[in-house]
Symmetry: C2
Subunit: 278 residues, 2 copies
């Protein structure tokens, strides 16, 4: 982008593993439109180069050296909870396990933010999903309770959105990978606007649901209208709506913003007819 | 717009009366940015003019004649139900009252679409809101049931969105005017994107709610992210969430799409502290 030549080295065999492959395939195509993408590749060394740096990459085709001006490392995150874990706080792979008041169980110690496992409303158990909104909310709860007030954190459903060049990708609830083999998936591609209204784009919707209709999660990808559409599914998860109730929602319609049946309604209607593979 | 000079004559004293005045004021300003807007004004005659038509307008300042190339009339809609009303079908001001199977009560006669009063889930009674999505859904129900199948229409919450030049305006549930004097309103203006991310716009949110916290409706206006954000409130109305539960939703956050606390969450947090005027 912007005239800068970019090479992306991804250690895994696909990009954005927080969504299922049909969606991450779209992300991969979008990344390849703007950069050179190397999968199953890692940076093994950075050396002084002729003008900038020499980046040594190792991938399925062996080693490769490229001259670069700058290297941006994104190597993931991990809860920095050693202090409390050593003091005896309960944790799950380093993510602190707290009450809904953010109490750690240690006397007069509260924990909040990205080092905490939040109560996941779909899993009905703790999950480590270190994202800004819950970090903010749990900080407020911890502060309120520590100061003698009353507050509790309601929990998360695992909602996230990211802009990858011109593609917006969002998820909430459980992916197929997270929901396990019993879960059903329903995929649709529908228009983001009325057919005759200019400027629309295809929108990909995946719903993850139980054979009995319970909604477990959803994923969206498209060039517009993704970020706040995922919030309809997030709200449905909070309210424990099934795909039948999802199909009945009175969602907004006007030609610049949606087809008369919103892509979410189309997906929910389809999900009602999705059967487990024989 | 597009170099065409437009005069809008509105018979009422404000535009878009389907939203409350704080929102319709924003719409009025947007209409005035692009057209000459005349309120409390009606077209009383169209006469042949020198080159096109002469449009005779009557307003608070008396009569005015303007030369125009074309006149677009938007005079509202009314259910065309005379046939069934004369046959004895139940109706409310012409809008047909039907069961959730779209049966009219007349033998072997179903009715669907804009001539029908739909079950309004917030009012828990019939309401005439003639919009496309419910017209489509009720047509499917009537067709399925008439053909011997099983289907029912779940009802509406009165969701609508409209694009007025560059301003998007949406509503769901009840407006303050519709909810009556006991209802509380909470108004906030918040950013559509993270503060530091370019291209954001102010977003106006109005929540209409009961003193006990029950959500009755919502309205949004802004230059982006309105249409599908209203659907979060529509989903909340379907699920009968209160403003406390609304404030707890795990909504999507990324700087291009929302602040870390979405404007809906900010409004819901504020609504929890809104008290009836003394």
């Amino acid at each position: 982008g912007a005239g800068v030549q970019v090479t992306v080295a991804e250690a895994l065999d696909r990009v954005l593993t927080t969504v299922d492959p049909p969606l991450s395939d779209l992300v991969e195509a979008e990344v390849r439109r703007h950069t050179e993408l190397l999968l199953r590749s890692t940076v093994v060394a950075l050396e002084p180069g002729a003008e900038g740096l020499t980046c040594v990459l190792r991938g399925p085709d062996g080693e490769r050296r490229i001259e670069v001006d700058a290297v941006v490392l994104a190597v993931g995150v991990r809860p920095d909870s050693t202090l409390l874990v050593q003091a005896g706080a309960r944790h799950q792979k380093g993510a602190l396990l707290v009450e809904d008041t953010m109490r750690t169980g240690l006397p007069d110690v509260w924990a909040a933010g990205d080092c905490v496992a939040h109560h996941h409303l779909v899993l009905d158990g703790p999950a480590w999903v270190p994202l800004g909104p819950a970090a903010n909310k749990t900080g407020r709860v911890a502060g309120t309770v520590a100061a003698g007030g009353r507050a509790r954190f309601a929990g998360i459903v695992g909602t996230a959105v990211v802009k990858v060049f011109d593609l917006d990708v969002a998820r909430t609830g459980l992916t197929q990978a997270e929901a396990g083999p019993e879960a059903l998936v329903t995929d649709v591609v529908h228009r983001s606007r009325a057919k005759y209204y200019p400027g629309g784009h295809p929108m990909t919707v995946r719903l993850v649901h139980e054979p009995g209709g319970r909604l477990l999660g959803g994923q969206l990808a498209g060039r517009e209208g993704v970020a706040k559409r995922i919030d309809v599914l997030a709200t449905a998860l909070h309210a424990r709506l099934g795909v039948g109730e999802l199909a009945e929602l009175d969602l907004s319609y006007a030609p610049p913003f949606a087809p008369v049946y919103d892509p979410i309604l189309i997906a929910a209607q389809r999900a009602l007819r999705t059967r487990a593979p024989a």
